[in-house]
């Protein structure tokens, strides 16, 4: 069915507000209700083409408005034309609201008809939520622009144009987001919608053996593989890549869907790939690979891995990332309960039991800085934590953990503050698991948080042991005070930190 009939016409300002609020409600409803359909297949190539065209139309509309915003007071016709041009880009030539501007004729069907059609075809695929979110934001933006079109003065125009611009930016979304907040960018970057027609598709749970290829699992685009043979290649769209790895001669650009790997593939992002990880680009970096040709991937597919089906039944993957994080680690929010003798849940956890039983942990309660600090983590954890720290934490805390815009997290300065303030290891765990990274708190999985803490302990010259740092709070960690008694000799004498490999 077509949804043009749902697209409200011009109204007064109060009406406009209602539409916007409605748009947000739809977005949030999707955020809470969406579930993964294990049967969802990667999208048809036509859908990819249509989504890309819709993106172009959105960006053209944004450009129309933006140019008008920058013009200043040069008469009403300029900004009215801008509003109409943007409407044309959005609704397309077959809509009643389309009017020719300056003799230009439409070259595209329009963003909204394309989004309507995509939404109709989306079923329960992962791109249903972001496409619908983009669609309702475009509808609201058209309403605002229609108001702007009837503006009697520049103030009125700018008021509505500003709102329209924000709504269109929401529709464009972010390539680094999964779900409704990803909008069209997120749908293209993290779901099968981003796979070009005739593109080669491989199992997104396995590292690629061929390139170019798109790694897809349960409708999510996990990575794009490119040949690392010196030839250039073009990405089908911006991927929002924050992690790049190498598998032999293949460069693997992981998408934001990588964070669902444990749920979709039954395992965490592979820390064993350290040797293969050539770079861990910090969140927000531009796509590291651009340029070139060969957007047409070949046609073959790897067989699915055995873990895929079981993991894919977990519906959490379509939750908004923030909700997902908080629900995936309920223990994180009650870290201090344990330290004050509250929760007993930690003792049921095998890894936390191991710490509770540890004789070393008992020693750690001592405030004697001359005592040996306990072994609370494994070398493997610390090594994995180092990789996570490098990609998520280093911008604020510094590559030597000395602190940059944020405080130090290792060395004499940190440990002095920890002793002065009486911080326990669980205090450290709680802030890492619940409050960090600053712009994306709670986004680390329980395993990632444990790995990061292991890295911090290792950098603070705590010894490694054979039992891993627990992924949940434990009573004993709440009593284990951070101490400046270093088990290992600092490799950086000035900072008082130890290197971690």
């Amino acid at each position: 069915m077509t949804r043009q009939g749902h697209d409200n016409g011009p109204g007064r300002r109060n009406g406009v507000r209602t539409v916007i609020r409605g748009a947000m409600i739809v977005m949030l409803a999707y955020a809470g209700a969406a579930a993964v359909d294990t049967a969802a297949a990667p999208s048809a190539g036509d859908d990819h083409q249509s989504a890309s065209a819709a993106m172009s139309a959105l960006q053209t509309a944004i450009g129309d408005i933006d140019r008008a915003e920058r013009l200043g007071t040069e008469g009403p016709d300029t900004y009215r034309d801008a509003a109409q041009s943007a409407i044309n880009d959005l609704v397309g030539p077959n809509d009643d609201r389309y009017r020719n501007v300056g003799g230009k004729t439409a070259t595209d069907a329009g963003a909204l008809p394309r989004l309507n059609a995509l939404s109709d075809r989306s079923g329960k695929s992962p791109w249903a939520a972001p496409i619908s979110a983009a669609r309702v934001n475009v509808i609201a933006a058209v309403t605002q622009l229609t108001e702007a079109l009837h503006s009697s003065d520049l103030d009125h125009f700018q008021l509505h144009a500003s709102d329209a611009l924000e709504l269109l930016e929401m529709a464009v979304g972010r390539s680094t987001e999964i779900g409704p907040l990803g909008g069209l960018s997120g749908a293209l970057a993290t779901t099968g919608l981003g796979v070009p027609v005739h593109g080669r598709v491989t199992n997104g749970c396995s590292l690629p053996k061929v390139a170019p290829a798109s790694g897809v699992v349960d409708g999510y685009l996990m990575y794009v593989a490119l040949p690392a043979n010196g030839k250039s290649a073009t990405l089908p769209q911006a991927l929002g890549t924050t992690f790049v790895s190498r598998n032999g001669d293949i460069l693997v650009l992981h998408t934001a869907a990588r964070k669902l790997e444990s749920k979709l593939c039954g395992r965490q992002p592979d820390p064993r790939s350290k040797a293969r990880q050539m770079a861990a680009v910090h969140a927000g970096a531009a796509d590291p690979v651009h340029a070139g040709s060969d957007p047409q991937h070949g046609a073959s597919a790897d067989p699915p891995s055995s873990g895929t089906k079981e993991a894919a039944s977990d519906p959490a993957s379509n939750d908004p990332p923030g909700k997902q994080s908080s629900s995936s680690d309920p223990s994180a929010s009650s870290g201090k309960q344990a330290s004050s003798g509250g929760s007993s849940s930690g003792s049921k956890d095998s890894s936390s039991s191991s710490v509770s039983d540890s004789a070393d942990a008992g020693n750690a309660s001592s405030k004697d800085s001359g005592s040996t600090p306990p072994a609370l983590y494994t070398e493997k954890q610390a090594s994995a934590g180092r990789q996570i720290f490098r990609s998520k934490c280093v911008a604020c805390h510094g590559k030597n953990l000395q602190g940059k815009s944020a405080p130090s997290v290792a060395g004499d300065d940190f440990l002095s503050a920890a002793q002065r303030n009486g911080w326990s290891v669980d205090d450290l765990r709680s802030i890492v698991a619940y409050n960090m990274p600053f712009n994306e708190p709670g986004s680390l999985s329980k395993k990632q948080a444990a790995d990061v803490i292991a890295y911090l302990l290792a950098s603070n010259c705590y010894p490694a042991g054979d039992k891993p740092f627990p992924e949940k709070e434990t009573k004993v960690l709440g009593k284990t005070k951070l101490t400046n008694a270093k088990a290992n000799k600092p490799s950086d004498a000035k900072l008082g930190t130890c290197n971690v490999n």
């Binding site: 947000m24 949030l28 933006d66 915003e69 920058r70 200043g72 007071t73 520049l154 103030d155 700018q158 008021l159 500003s162 611009l165 924000e166 930016e169 929401m170 972010r174 680094t176 987001e177 907040l181 929002g240 910090h282 927000g284 531009a286 908004p320 990332p321 923030g322 909700k323 994080s325 908080s326 629900s327 929010s333 009650s334 201090k336 911008a395 604020c396 510094g398 602190g403 940059k404 815009s405 944020a406 405080p407 130090s408 300065d413 002095s416 503050a417 002065r420 303030n421 009486g422 911080w423 205090d427 802030i431 619940y434 409050n435 600053f438 712009n439 994306e440 708190p441 709670g442 986004s443």
Partner: protein
């Protein structure tokens, strides 16, 4: 314990000297201070464009400067004269330069002070503090008073240095609880006092502003921003929640010397995101307070609370700006403030009555508190109007202020536990979601409606510097310093500093040449997904017409 070794001034030549644009290394440093700064110099700042000796140029807090060289016709001739790369401190720079005589004093995030030749950028002396960072590393400038320069530090010290040499005169730890309190704001000299507000609003501290004796750091008076038992407003807090109520004094202040009235913005209440443990309006959080400071103890003249019982850290980070503006056709003394919730407010400076309210950022969820399951609200905690605020143009009766469009996904815990030296939030800072852009807003004071707006692709908190010749400057996180036509928002000039700008620009005149100076540096946690990675490091950039 902070090593004294880290608090030793370095003379020029010993420190890494980085002067780009034109090579100046090797020249002998000139004298730092031409003459001591006196009270009348502060009072006459508005009439004298040769120096910039208060954080926002004058006590009014209005960054408006009378220029006679740089104007709309020749602004495109502005070119880099010199840059100074701040060594050994790769963190955000939010400092406003203080310029007196031929010396510019700037600070780095970790409380380093650099005395530079204002004409050439040559380093005269450097003071390195590097204190323990309680929370986050920022410094917003120094005070210059008499022959001394003063800095409030990240570990709660107030330090006086000889402005001529950088040698330490005295150093005193002055915050009440150094485990959760520190200084980021530039001290403000006023009538033989140094006024300094404490930063501790997200770490379980209690806000206050202190008047210090500049001779020795002794307290002259102090005013707490959360009323204690028996004081008016105490009943706006439940139980003992007031004891860690926050309401810090993060940013600058404005002063009306004629009436000895101090205008200050008070920060958010604590725990930031858990309102159930502090029911009530939580005075004087999220308020502008006007204090009579003519006597031995400050007295509240009026207050205006913008967001009672804030649960999103949407405090009025912007320092107040005092100005005489025309509103509804009548000239009035006004005070303007913006908050992180995306609101811009204009109040009657005499009684705090609301005159205008303009929404300058995308807003959502203002009536919903963060929950354990999480919910969305806009702006996020770094959005709206930020700490550098804006400026008023008397020629067009326009207020210029940048604002940011960001949203957050917020979660609250079921309780808040105080741990010394750590966040006291009752939840988590929001996950950054939604739009990620900025506006530079020109607001008609008469109506509260936009005259024009300029859209940025990144959040905006580069403040505003208005000239009498019809220009307004602002900095972008893209690294560009922009000059707009005040009348219509036409972009007339742009200079790429190479690093994100989150600091206000300053202007001064030296040897017959007008200069514009601005700090830039790494974005820190202000960095967001759409920002470029461009970062040439922390630096000061100075431009002038035809190369100065």
């Amino acid at each position: 314990m902070i090593s004294n070794l880290r608090r030793v001034p370095l003379k020029a030549g010993k420190a890494a000297l980085a002067v780009a644009g034109i090579s100046l290394i090797g020249a002998l440093p000139t004298t730092a201070m031409s003459k001591p700064v006196q009270n009348e110099d502060y009072m006459q700042a508005a009439q004298n464009n040769s120096y910039w000796v208060l954080p926002a140029r004058t006590y009014s807090g209005n960054r408006y400067v009378k220029t006679d060289q740089i104007d709309r016709d020749n602004v495109d001739q502005l070119k880099k004269v010199w840059t100074f790369k701040i060594p050994d401190d790769d963190a955000p720079v939010e400092s406003v330069p203080i310029v007196w005589g031929n010396t510019m004093f700037v600070t780095s995030a970790h409380d380093h002070i650099y005395a530079l030749d204002a004409k050439t950028g040559e380093l005269k002396w450097e003071f390195k503090d590097d204190p323990h960072v309680v929370a986050f590393a920022r410094n917003r400038g120094v005070a210059l008073m008499g022959r001394d320069v003063y800095i409030g530090t990240l570990d709660g010290h107030l330090i006086a240095l000889d402005a001529e040499t950088g040698d330490k005169v005295w150093d005193k730890q002055v915050v009440h609880d150094p485990s959760n309190s520190f200084y980021t704001m530039a001290p403000v000299p006023y009538k033989d006092m140094l006024l300094l507000g404490v930063s501790n609003g997200d770490w379980g501290g209690l806000g206050y502003i202190t008047a210090f004796n500049p001779k020795n750091g002794d307290r002259i008076w102090e005013w707490k921003t959360v009323p204690g038992p028996g004081e008016p407003g105490h009943d706006t807090w439940t139980g003992d929640s007031w004891k860690r109520g926050g309401a810090s004094v993060w940013s600058g202040v404005a002063i009306d010397p004629k009436t000895d009235t101090l205008y200050m913005s008070c920060g958010n209440p604590q725990p930031d995101f858990l309102g159930t443990v502090r029911k009530g309006k939580n005075l004087y959080s999220d308020s502008v307070v006007a204090l009579d400071i003519s006597g031995s103890k400050p007295q509240v003249k009026w207050y205006h609370q913008f967001i009672p019982h804030d649960t999103h850290d949407w405090d009025p980070a912007m320092p107040p700006v005092l100005f005489d503006g025309k509103i509804d056709g009548q000239q009035k003394p006004l005070v303007a403030v913006g908050d992180k919730g995306g609101n811009f407010w204009i109040l009657d400076a005499k009684d705090g009555k609301l005159m205008d309210h303009t929404v300058v950022s995308y807003q959502k969820g203002h009536d919903t508190e963060p929950s354990a399951n999480g919910n969305y609200a806009c702006p996020n905690t770094n959005g709206g109007v930020e700490f550098n605020g804006g400026a008023y143009d008397p020629n067009t009766n326009t207020f210029f202020v940048p604002s940011s469009n960001q949203c957050g996904y917020w979660t609250a815990k079921d309780r808040a536990v105080y741990i010394a030296g750590q966040f006291y939030l009752g939840g988590a800072f929001p996950k950054l979601v939604g739009p990620n852009t900025g506006w530079f807003n020109a607001i008609d004071v008469n109506s509260g409606v936009f005259k024009w707006r300029h859209h940025f692709d990144t959040p905006a908190n580069g403040s505003a510097l208005v000239t009498s010749t019809g220009l307004v400057f602002t900095g972008e996180l893209s690294g560009n310093l922009d000059a707009f036509d005040t009348r219509n928002g036409k972009l007339l000039w742009q200079y790429d500093t190479g690093s994100p700008i989150a600091a206000p620009a300053a202007a001064y005149k030296l040897g017959g040449t007008e200069y514009i100076a601005v700090a830039s540096g790494p974005a820190g946690f202000v960095k967001s997904p759409k920002m470029s990675d461009q970062d040439a490091g922390p630096m000061i950039s100075v431009v002038a017409a035809q190369g100065g």
